[in-house]
Amino acid sequence: MPVFWLALIVLAIAALGFAAGRSRALSAAGGDSRGLHSLPTYYGWNVALKAMVPAFFLLLAWLLIQPFYVNSVVSGMIPDSEIREGSSRSLMMAEVQRTATGLDNAIAEGVMDDAFARDPDADIADVTERLKSSGQIVTSEITRPMLQAAQELRVKSAAGYSIMSIAVIIAAVAGALWGIRESLPDFRARNVVEQGVRMLLIAAASIAILTTVGILLSLVFNTVEFFRLYPAMDFFFGTQWAPSFSGRGGSSELGVLPLLWGTLYISIVALAVAVPIGLFSAIYLSEYASPRVRSVAKPLLEILAGIPTIVYGLFALLTVGPLLVSVFGRDGLNWMQSGTAVMTAGLVMGIMLIPFVSSLSDDIINAVPQAMRDGSYGLGATQSETIRQVVIPAALPGIVGAVLLAASRAIGETMIVVLGAGAAARLSLNPFEAMTTVTAKIVSQLTGDADFASPEALVAFALGMTLFVITLALNIFALYIVRKYREQYE
């Protein structure tokens, strides 16, 4: 039975249980809901939860565990002598699984019947022929033990899934019955539902956290793998970035310094654009603008944050780059060779970051108590004196937090760099030269056709890890600043 149908059946049981639990509780109280501990729907939800939660957990656990179990049983059927030269048991098992799927599909297509697929003494050549004719992928020659293993795999899986369906339905029905039995006026169904809600929220939070941990672990393992192939000293302190894709291996120079420098340089240019403009527009919006102007201008500014970065990249490539070239290029000051440069990417990235800085700073400036401003006005200070000497110092920790958040955005930005800054990794101080960043190189290292186990591809994980550590440090620093000074004016 497909899992989808199974899930629907469990839901149907839960729905029936809901109705039954609700009406049982009501009738036990003589039809008067005031005689119940909880509202009638809570009794319904209690039953539904008890039907659904264990059943779905069982389903999930079964789906995860069964393949492991069946595989380990079946893999025992393949004698060591059958494992081919240069192959391994796990590769053989992949073959067996492919054959089993092939048999399934062949039956579905009608080239063989079920009995034939189950026949352990079937003619191997015939089986192979039929599999091929139904368009199934058969990579290597099927041997008799492999065929038998595949057949066994099919039988075991099918049996497992039928047992699973029965078990899940029994669990759902048992849960529902348990809940219905409980549906008496004194039962505290409301508290049970409250617990259920709490568990749901905990589950959601843990999924988010566990995923992060998983991503982090995969980064760490691959980074360790990379450092096994490539010396860490050369990676962290190398000043050359010259990966070789020839496949000879060993000839690549993978120094991270030029990339880090490019990242840093472009981010600095971007922040030099975004921080003053963003901060000043935040001050204007929160302190000077009339409510009418503010209600129009703030959403307009926030639209900037909604533009996909690839569009900013196009803007850099097609508008800002040529514009800069016309001023600083060969026809002008002759500082710039082509449109792709640190300046191009930095300017455009700065524009992208304006709404981050302005929107966060605006909220923070608004959170400074009016009493501070009144106190300053009451002493005869002008508006700009008040802002400079009272409001901004009071809001400073939050503003620093906003700037650091913008900085970690800038460091992680990819698309604008790819299109605006070029792809040449170099250590240079000239902002009109093409450079590249860590993120842009991660893309190019992983989209090439290098062997995935080579240092040229694995370096992407080391780069990602470096970037992650830097942005994490920035975020922690931002949080620290914000926490340390947050209560100052409260």
Binding site: P291, A371, M372, R373, G375, S376, L379, G380, E490
Partner: protein, 265 residues
């Protein structure tokens, strides 16, 4: 009020510092202050009393044009300080506020050091020629604010770290530091405990020597204790204005009597 001392309290000065005539204040469509005329004497503590929402704070804020910072607020009428119309176009409200200091209901020290809190006004208005001069102003203001002894050893500590009563005295010292002529106080003791209140009240009495003080208060005992003149506001009208002793012992308006005996408010 059974304190007969009140009637005997003398008013040290008869010069009018602030003269308000026919003042009307509107918040949007709400008519908050209706035709209030009052003369506030120099070197006197004048108390504004009345139930919540009667307009006493609003009127107080007219005196240093703090209502300008509220968009929907509109002030009509004639308010003169030393004979000068403060709503005249030529008057800079910023300069006016340096002359008419204000202390707020909730202590609002800036998130700066105690020293910088006091030095804020003098720095803005350029009252000190050099650092030594500023030090003198800071010490003098803190002494007049009756808080010098408590903070002299920690002038660089943040002003927000003081207790509520200390913060309020710091704010009074901060207002004094700009050498105002009039000091407006909007319920300065409502966030303080009785001991801190007593300290601030004592301070207000001392300030009378140099300034004209206008204090808004909800506590009638406080008005009776610290003020020489009392104005009773009700529903945006100035009901009665006169000697504090007379207002509390022998009010001429029945509404004043009802309020001070606790029947309305």
């Amino acid at each position: 009020m059974d304190d007969l001392r009140l009637t005997e309290r003398d008013v040290t000065s008869q010069d009018a510092k602030i003269a308000a005539k026919n003042v009307q204040v509107y918040y949007g469509d709400t008519h908050a202050i209706k035709d209030v005329s009052v003369e506030i004497k120099d070197k006197t503590v004048t108390a504004f009393i009345g139930p919540s929402g009667c307009g006493k704070s609003t009127f107080l804020r007219c005196l240093n044009r703090m209502n300008d910072t509220i968009d929907i607020c509109r002030v009509e009428g004639d308010i003169r300080i030393d004979g000068e119309d403060i709503y005249d176009k030529r008057i800079d409200p910023v300069q006016l506020r340096a002359k008419v200091g204000m202390v707020f209901q909730k202590p609002n020290p800036f998130p700066k050091s105690i020293y910088d809190n006091i030095a804020y006004g003098p720095r803005i208005h350029g009252l000190a020629k050099n650092k030594a001069d500023l030090d003198v102003i800071v010490e003098k203001s803190l002494r007049r604010g009756a808080i010098w002894d408590e903070v002299k050893d920690r002038l660089n500590a943040p002003g927000t770290g003081l207790s509520g009563g200390q913060q309020q005295r710091l704010c009074i010292a901060r207002a004094i530091a700009t050498e105002p002529e009039v000091l407006l106080m909007d319920e300065p003791c409502s966030a303080l405990d009785p001991i801190a209140t007593a300290q601030v009240e004592e301070l207000i009495d001392e300030l009378r020597e140099n300034y004209s003080v206008v204090i808004v208060t909800h506590s009638m005992q406080q008005a009776a204790r610290v003020s020489q003149k009392t104005a009773f506001f009700h529903l945006g009208n100035l009901v009665e204005y006169g000697e504090t002793g007379q207002i509390f012992t022998n009010p001429s308006d029945p509404r004043t009597e009802s309020y001070i005996t606790g029947r309305i408010g």
